[in-house]
C-alpha cells in the first residue's frame, strides 16, 4: 500500500490564543480510519486543517501528488479542489437548486465536468429534478457522500457523516464510502462518536 496522506504533529491556534495539538497521521491508499474523541477535542478542526480550510501554526501536511502544505501558509485552490474532498456533517445544499444541479454546482466549483454518475445508484434516479430539501435526511446524506466523491481526491475527510441517521441510512452511507474507497484506492478519515461505524474501519485514532 502507498501513502496518500502524511501529516506531522499539527498545532492550530485560535484568535483567543487557545491551541490544539494533533498527533501525526499517516493514511494509506485503500484505508479508512476512524477519528474518535470527546466533543471539543478538535476533530473537525483537525480535518479542516488538513483540508486547508483553517490555517495551522506548526507542522506540515503531505498529500501524494501535491506540493507540501506548510504551517502558516494558505492552502492553494488546487488543494481544496483536488487533493482533499470534504464530506460535511450537514449537506449544505443550495435550496434554489435541484439535486442534480447541486451536484453540477460542486463539479463547477472543482473545475471538472458535470458528473456523469447517476443518482440511480443511490435509488434516487427519479428525484434528480427535486429540491434537495424535499428528500429525507438519509437520502440527503447519501447525495452528500456522492458529491464528495466528485473529482476523486486522494484523501476524503468525512465529518460525522452518520450523526443523525438511523441504522439503515448509516449503513447505506458507510457502504457508499467503502465502495468508493475500494474503487478509487483513496484514503478516508471519518470523524465520529458513532460506535456503529467501528466495524467498517481499518484503524481507529483517538484524540483528546
Amino acid at each position: 500500500m502507498s501513502k496518500v496522506l502524511e501529516s506531522s504533529s499539527l498545532m492550530v491556534t485560535f484568535s483567543d490564543q487557545v491551541s490544539l495539538h494533533f498527533p501525526p497521521l499517516v493514511l494509506e491508499a485503500g484505508e479508512m480510519v476512524l477519528l474518535q474523541g470527546p466533543s471539543g477535542a478538535g476533530k473537525s478542526t483537525w480535518m479542516h486543517a488538513i483540508a486547508g480550510l483553517t490555517p495551522f501554526h506548526r507542522g506540515t501536511v503531505d498529500i501524494h501528488g501535491f506540493a507540501t502544505l506548510y504551517a502558516g501558509k494558505k492552502a492553494p485552490k488546487q488543494w481544496r479542489r483536488s487533493a482533499v474532498s470534504l464530506l460535511p456533517q450537514k449537506p449544505f445544499f443550495w435550496n434554489s437548486l435541484s439535486l442534480s444541479e447541486n451536484l453540477g454546482l460542486a463539479a463547477w466549483a472543482k473545475g471538472i465536468d458535470p458528473p456523469t454518475m447517476s443518482l440511480d445508484a443511490l435509488g434516487l434516479g427519479t428525484k434528480g429534478a427535486q429540491a434537495a430539501h424535499s428528500l429525507s435526511l438519509g437520502e440527503q446524506q447519501r447525495v452528500n457522500a456522492l458529491r464528495s466523491f466528485l473529482g476523486n481526491a486522494p484523501v476524503l475527510l468525512a465529518d460525522e457523516p452518520t450523526a443523525s441517521l438511523d441504522d439503515h441510512n448509516a449503513a447505506a452511507v458507510m457502504a457508499l464510502l467503502r465502495a468508493h474507497l475500494e474503487k478509487q484506492a483513496c484514503g478516508i478519515v471519518v470523524s465520529s462518536h458513532d460506535h456503529r461505524l467501528v466495524p467498517y474501519m481499518d484503524r481507529i485514532v483517538t484524540i483528546g
Binding site: K77, Q78, R80, F92, W94, S96
Partner: protein, 387 residues
C-alpha cells in the same frame, strides 16, 4: 455561464424581494429617463414651433398664455387686438413673414383658426389634398380630424362658438372643407384652418380684429428692441416668443431637476437595498457559499455567483424602466394636450440612455463588491462548523 445560471436560480428563489427592489430601482430610472426625454422632446418642438417667429402681438395678458394660445394652440387667447392699430406696426421694414390669426370657433373642441395666406407657407406639410382656404367659410382640415369627424372634401359643418365645446352653435354659417392636409408638426394636425374672413363673417362683433399677429424680425438688433418699443407705444402686448420660451424651458428644467434629484435618491435607495439583500442572503446561506469555496471555488467563481445576482436585478430594473417608458408614451394622450405630444423619434433615441445604463450596471456591480469581499474573508472552518 454556469455562474449566471446558479445566480439566476438563487435570485429566482427570493424573487418577491428582488422584484420589489427592481421596482424601486425602475421608478428611479424611469424618472431619470422620462425627464430627459420630455425635456428633449419639448425643446425640439419649441424650437420647431418658434422657428420664423420673433414677434407676437396680441391683447395684454400673460405672455406665457399668449404663446401657448397663439403658437401652440393649447390655451385660451388673451383677447383680440384692433386691426387698424396693428396694421400700422406691420408696415415696419424689418418685419417679414407676417401671419395674422383670428380665433373664434371650434368643431367638437377642435379649434377653428382663421389665418391669412402667409400661414400656409409656414406649415410643415407632409401631404395636402385639395387646396388651402381662399374664400370665406372654406376650411382645410387635418387627416386626423377628417377621419375622426368623417369629413371629406366638399363636406360642410357648423362650428361651435369659442375654442371649447358647448358654448353654442353657429347654425346659420356652414364651413366647407376644401383641403385635407397632414403636417410633420403634431400641433397643426389638431387644427381646422380657415381664412380670417370666415371668423369675421361668423362673429360680426369682432370684425376688424385679430387674435394675434406673428412675424419674423429680420434685423437682430430690432429683434431685441422692437417688442419693448411696441409694448410702450400701443394698446397691445408684444412678446418675443424666443425669450418667453427660454423662460418656460427654464421652469421645465427646474422641475426636471427636482424630479431627477428624487429619481437619483430612489436609485441610491435601491442600490443600498441591493447591498442589504445580498448581504442578508449570504449571511443566511453562508455555509452554502463556504462549501463552494471549500470545494475549490475560486474568487472569480464566487464573484460570478454574487455579482450576477446584482447585475440580473439591474437588468430587471432596466427592463421595467423601458416597459414604463412604453406605457408613458402610449398613455400620453390622456395627460398631455395633443399639440405637444412627445416626439416618438426622441422618445426612442436610445443612444442618450447608454451613459446611465452603464452607470447603473456599474452601481449593481459596485453594490456586490462589499458582500463578495466579505465572503472571501470569512473563515471557512467557522462558517461550516457554526452552521
Amino acid at each position: 455561464m454556469k455562474a449566471f445560471y446558479f445566480a439566476s436560480r438563487a435570485l429566482w428563489h427570493r424573487r418577491t424581494t428582488g422584484l420589489f427592489i427592481a421596482l424601486v430601482w425602475a421608478l428611479g430610472l424611469l424618472g431619470i429617463a422620462a425627464t430627459g426625454r420630455m425635456e428633449r422632446s419639448l425643446e425640439g418642438q419649441l424650437t420647431q414651433t418658434l422657428e420664423g417667429t420673433d414677434l407676437l402681438l396680441t391683447a395684454k395678458g400673460s405672455p406665457t398664455q399668449a404663446i401657448l394660445a397663439n403658437l401652440f394652440h393649447i390655451d385660451e387667447p388673451t383677447g383680440n387686438i384692433g386691426r387698424e392699430e396693428a396694421e400700422k406696426w406691420l408696415t415696419h421694414p424689418d418685419l417679414a413673414h407676417i401671419r395674422r390669426l383670428a380665433y373664434g370657433d371650434n368643431l367638437h373642441g377642435q379649434r377653428i383658426l382663421g389665418c391669412d395666406s402667409a400661414t400656409w407657407t409656414h406649415i410643415p406639410i407632409r401631404t395636402l389634398q385639395g387646396n388651402w382656404p381662399s374664400a370665406p367659410m372654406e376650411v382645410a382640415i387635418s387627416e386626423a380630424i377628417a377621419q375622426k369627424e368623417g369629413l371629406h372634401i366638399g363636406a360642410t359643418f357648423h362650428g361651435g362658438h369659442g375654442t371649447v365645446e358647448d358654448l353654442g352653435n353657429h347654425d346659420d354659417h356652414d364651413y366647407k372643407v376644401v383641403g385635407i392636409f397632414s403636417s410633420r408638426t403634431p400641433l397643426w394636425n389638431t387644427l381646422i384652418l380657415t381664412t380670417i374672413q370666415s371668423v369675421w363673417t361668423v362673429h360680426e362683433d369682432d370684425q376688424d380684429a385679430y387674435t394675434a399677429v406673428l412675424a419674423r424680425i429680420k434685423n437682430p438688433m430690432t429683434r431685441l428692441m422692437m417688442p419693448g418699443q411696441i409694448q410702450r407705444n400701443s394698446t397691445f402686448m408684444a412678446v418675443s416668443p424666443a425669450m418667453e420660451a427660454n423662460r418656460m424651458m427654464g421652469w421645465l428644467n427646474q422641475g426636471g431637476q427636482v424630479i431627477r434629484a428624487m429619481s437619483w435618491l430612489l436609485t441610491l435607495i435601491a442600490a443600498l437595498s441591493l447591498v442589504l439583500l445580498l448581504q442578508s442572503h449570504i449571511r443566511e446561506r453562508l455555509a452554502d457559499y463556504a462549501l463552494v469555496r471549500a470545494m475549490g471555488g475560486s474568487w472569480g467563481q464566487i464573484a460570478g455567483l454574487v455579482l450576477w445576482q446584482n447585475i440580473l436585478l439591474a437588468l430587471a430594473a432596466i427592463t421595467l424602466t423601458y416597459l414604463g417608458l412604453l406605457v408613458a408614451f402610449y398613455l400620453q394622450s390622456y395627460w398631455l394636450p395633443e399639440g405637444i405630444w412627445l416626439n416618438e423619434t426622441v422618445w426612442w433615441d436610445l443612444k442618450f440612455d447608454l451613459p446611465w445604463l452603464l452607470l447603473h450596471l456599474f452601481l449593481a456591480v459596485f453594490a456586490g463588491i462589499g458582500p463578495w469581499i466579505w465572503l472571501q474573508k470569512i473563515p471557512l472552518h467557522r462558517a461550516l462548523v457554526d452552521s
